[in-house]
């Protein structure tokens, strides 16, 4: 079975269009981030307390119930916590509460909720408290981690390929991370530690694709090259099958995680999903065209802007 029999799509021809699309997406991401004052940080980074509680009907534990948020807010109000972030989490009977106040309050939260809803059993599912100092430190380490991995990867690629390949790869990765953050910003989702982990994974994984294409380019470059863009096009076409399949299988798996993995993993899976899709796109339309543009500025004669049809 084959998806593509000898594909011969002229990718390089549409690279200007691709640059425009990517550029706009990146711009949109930046605008959204600026408008929101940066990515929406979870308590991991800004400190605070998160409590997740589940309500169950005492008489009938398995019956689904809907917990009214305003009543929860009233109960919180008695402790001066009415301005906490309260929302349903996964189902209508699970509530997540985020507050600024750090400690001592948490036991009272569960107790006060229990008093407010005596007909339900209030179960604390999980609780996280992060002090502000730790939060700031984590932001610092997250940023360092992302930059450090980008650096290491750039060095590795420069070692295995050439400098320009490294540039292409890093630009593509930067593009992937930025757009993923942009998506999170537009959807107003929180960025917490698992999301950063997903970003780092994307950095590593998205490179997979890019390297496979680069590898083929390198191999094809060994022969005499008259048409740079054409060679790159061919390389992409030759590896297209593999690129689609691998991204496809990873995507299947991540989509399953998104829908079946539970609330906690959901945002993490979403970040990976974005990363895989955007990453595949960027291997074809960012990393490779950059090589073409680079060459075009070095040896204009070798590059034909309109690639030959074969």
């Amino acid at each position: 079975m084959r998806f593509f029999k000898r594909p011969n799509i002229d990718f390089m021809n549409s690279r200007k269009l691709a640059f425009i699309i990517s550029g706009s997406l990146m711009l949109l991401s930046v605008i959204s981030l600026v408008l929101h004052g940066g990515p929406r940080l979870g308590i991991d980074f800004r400190g605070g307390t998160l409590i997740e509680v589940r309500f169950e009907d005492k008489a009938n534990p398995t019956a689904p119930i809907e917990v009214p948020i305003n009543k929860v807010r009233e109960a919180m109000g008695r402790y001066g916590l009415a301005s906490s972030e309260i929302k349903h989490y996964g189902s209508l009977q699970e509530i997540s509460i985020q507050t600024e106040v750090k400690k001592g309050i948490d036991l009272q939260i569960v107790e006060s909720l229990q008093k407010e809803f005596p007909q339900y059993k209030v179960i604390e599912r999980r609780k996280e408290t992060v002090g502000p100092k730790i939060g700031k430190e984590l932001v610092g380490s997250a940023i360092k981690a992302i930059f450090f991995s980008l650096l290491l990867i750039l060095l590795y690629i420069m070692f295995r390929f050439e400098f320009r390949f490294g540039v292409g790869a890093v630009v593509a990765l930067f593009h992937d991370v930025l757009i993923t953050l942009g998506v999170f910003s537009v959807l107003n989702l929180e960025v917490d530690i698992p999301v950063i982990a997903a970003l780092l994974t994307i950095v590593g994984y998205s490179l997979n694709d890019t390297i496979v294409v680069y590898d083929r380019i390198r191999e094809n470059m060994k022969k005499k090259v008259t048409d740079y863009a054409g060679v790159i096009n061919d390389s992409i076409n030759q590896t297209l099958s593999r690129t689609i399949i691998t991204s496809g299988t990873t995507l299947i798996v991540v989509v399953i995680l998104f829908f079946f993995g539970g609330e906690i993993i959901k945002d993490f899976a979403l970040a990976l999903m974005c990363g895989v899709i955007v990453g595949t796109y960027s291997s074809i339309y960012i990393a490779s065209p950059i090589l073409v543009e680079w060459e075009a500025r070095r040896k204009p004669a070798k590059v034909k802007v309109a690639a030959k049809k074969r």
């Binding site: 981690a145 390297i211 798996v253 993995g261």
Partner: protein
């Protein structure tokens, strides 16, 4: 022609056997019900241990439990070892505490700076014959902070071990933090109390009752407006300062009480109410005197602490009694059912300097209260035994003070102040009147492991309830199975028989991954499960690369063997490059993250390595084996 197929096949079989063995502990252990597990633990503890030790460890987010990060409270340490503490000292200390929240610098340095701003030198509070020079003192203080952290770590280790948590984890992080993980602990409050308690045990002599009375009256006068008028703005500042106390440190008392005006029922001086809503400290009398000594209303406890912060009050105490402290005791159990403003808490005026400290305790045992002692009967108690030095000191103190009361003080609260009947030579003491066997046990644990030399604050806490843990495991498991089926199906359809071989390799991949985790005693977390699932998706990549290559070669017309050869060798380089980069990212993640994220990085790293092995070595050997045995005639790919 393929070389050494037999050898390679044997290697593969060996690998399968090895990892199956590594995993079987987990499978065996988890297939037993809880009752069966308990039975085994009793009947054959060695086997139980072995099974447990070699099974895959579940992270806190999967089995439920607490993760705490504690930071040693250097501020409290500095306060403790300082002498001649005055207003400037406390001001500088508070200012330093505030700045320390934002800054990365060492607390000692910040404090030093603040003191300089107040115009005082460290030597005023910490100077001694050995250390007079400012820099010497600075380095001495820093060393103190450093050493106390290490001691705290050791002591916490002792305590948590005795807590009975299976495989508690206590690690030092950086230079002043400790990470504690208590798996399966569901009683959060008990764990928090145990870990956070300073358990500073001291024995102090009481001041003369007349002295105590005088102090109480003078403070009462001051509070009811009969004394020297105070600058109210300063008092307000004091109040604000004390109400912002960080309550995550040691003591059990809540400093966030609601100051209320209560009906005055004083037994001594009549009140002239000066109370306003801004100065809850002032108003009616605080202390009441009775035949049994001083006391305050339980509802006034928050107020009491505010009052104790007032420098004027400190002055009064110093004038009347020299170096002394006023401490609270425990409420009379018989008044348990009365409302807080009718319950009284005894107050003790004690020497500031302890006659004996808890560091010399060697043993502490919880017991049921003796039936002979009316105070102890129906309750629980903890027996203490001192070491030689402690026994000597104890004998000296009790010998010199027969007939006088000796307060037994735990964490700044007086448990009891029994009168010394005679010289206690054998170094044994008892703390009675504890409410439950839990309390007695915890007290014993805490005393035995010794006192924490500096209180530790909890700066991060993550708790996952067991119900969520179970849910997560279920969801993770379902997702993994579903993912595996879909991917395997796809490979089968797209690459036919070769796809089937790739699926075999995939299953082997997971076997190796899990077996490795069991062998390394690595911890499986929810992100870790996600990592396994991700590996499933990524593992096929290597196979796809190889198969696509083989297809290409076959199309060009090469023979089956040649295509196989070229396919594998050419693809190998690509696979290596691609996986190395993901591996690098995983390594960075491992360093950056902790706990669950580490679990993710671990499964990713192992998964990548295993997938390379299975894709390159295993499938190739399978191909070669089947082709050479003519089971497979053509490449079905």
């Amino acid at each position: 022609m393929p070389q050494k197929i037999t050898l390679k096949s044997v290697i593969i079989l060996g690998v399968v056997a090895l990892f199956a063995y590594l995993l079987h502990f987990t499978l065996l252990f988890n297939s037993m019900s809880k009752e069966e597990q308990k039975k085994l633990a009793i009947e054959n503890p060695k086997r139980y241990e072995k099974l447990l030790k070699n099974s895959i460890k579940l992270g806190l987010d999967l089995q439920g439990g607490m993760h705490l990060v504690m930071e040693v409270d250097v501020k409290a340490l500095l306060e403790k070892i300082a002498k001649n503490k005055d207003e400037r000292f406390y001001r500088a200390l508070e200012a330093a505490a505030k700045e320390a929240e934002e800054s990365e610098a060492s607390f000692v340095d910040i404090f030093d700076q603040k003191l300089t701003e107040e115009g005082v030198n460290l030597s005023l509070y910490y100077g001694s014959r050995e250390f007079r020079d400012h820099d010497e003192i600075l380095s001495y203080l820093k060393k103190q902070a450093q050493e106390s952290i290490n001691r705290t770590l050791e002591i916490l280790r002792n305590r948590v071990d005795q807590f009975g948590v299976s495989e508690p984890s206590i690690q030092k992080q950086g230079h002043n933090r400790i990470i504690i993980e208590l798996a399966g602990v569901t009683d959060r409050q008990r764990a928090l109390d145990l870990v956070g308690k300073t358990a500073k045990l001291e024995f102090r002599l009481l001041k003369d009752p007349q002295v105590a009375q005088r102090i109480a009256s003078r403070i009462n006068e001051y509070l009811t407006g009969g004394g020297v008028s105070e600058d109210t703005s300063k008092v307000l500042a004091e109040k604000e300062k004390s109400s912002k106390q960080d309550t995550s440190a040691i003591t059990a008392e809540e400093l966030l009480g609601n100051p209320q005006k209560t009906a005055s029922e004083s037994l001594t001086v009549d009140t002239t109410a000066v109370a306003t809503s801004e100065n809850p400290e002032f108003g009616e009398n605080l202390f009441f005197a009775s035949g049994r000594g001083l006391s305050i209303k339980e509802s006034n406890i928050p107020r009491f602490y505010k009052v104790m912060e007032d420098p004027k009050v400190k002055e009064i105490i110093e004038m009347e009694a020299g170096e002394a402290d006023i401490l609270l005791g425990k409420p009379d159990a018989r008044t348990h059912n009365l409302p807080p403003d009718k319950r009284f808490v005894p107050v003790y005026v004690v020497n500031a300097k302890p006659a004996l400290t808890g560091e010399t305790i060697v043993d502490a045992t919880p017991r049921v209260g003796s039936a002979n002692d009316p105070n102890a009967f129906g309750k629980f108690e903890t027996d203490l035994t001192f070491n030689d030095q402690g026994a000597k000191d104890f004998a000296r103190v009790t010998g010199a003070n027969v007939g006088k009361p000796l307060a037994i003080i735990l964490d700044g609260k007086v448990h009891s102040a029994p009168v010394i009947r005679d010289k206690i030579r054998n170094g044994r003491a008892v703390i009675t009147g504890l409410e439950s066997i839990e309390e007695a046990k915890d007290l014993a644990i805490v005393l035995k492991a010794g006192a924490l030399p500096a209180p530790a604050k909890i700066i991060e806490e993550r708790t996952v309830g067991p119900s969520l843990g179970k849910d997560s495991i279920e969801k993770g498991y379902k997702s993994a199975v579903l993912g595996l089926i879909l991917v395997a199906l796809f490979m089968l359809v797209y690459y036919k028989f070769s796809g089937f071989l790739a699926d075999v390799a995939l299953v082997l991949n997971i076997l190796i991954l899990l077996g490795f985790m069991a062998a390394l005693h690595a911890t499986l977390t929810l992100p870790g499960i996600a990592g396994i699932i991700l590996t499933i998706g990524m593992a096929v990549d290597a196979n796809v690369l190889i198969f696509e290559r083989i297809r290409e070669e076959l199309e060009v017309g090469k023979s089956v063997w040649a295509s196989l050869e070229t396919g594998y060798s050419r693809a190998f380089i690509t696979i290596l490059d691609a996986n190395v980069t993901t591996f690098i990212a995983a390594v960075v993640l491992y360093n950056f993250g902790s706990g669950p994220i580490r679990g993710f990085a671990t499964t990713l790293m192992i998964g990548i390595t295993a997938s390379m092995f299975t894709a390159i070595f295993v499938t190739r050997t399978l191909f070669e084996l089947l082709l050479s045995k003519k089971i497979l005639k053509r490449m079905s790919i």
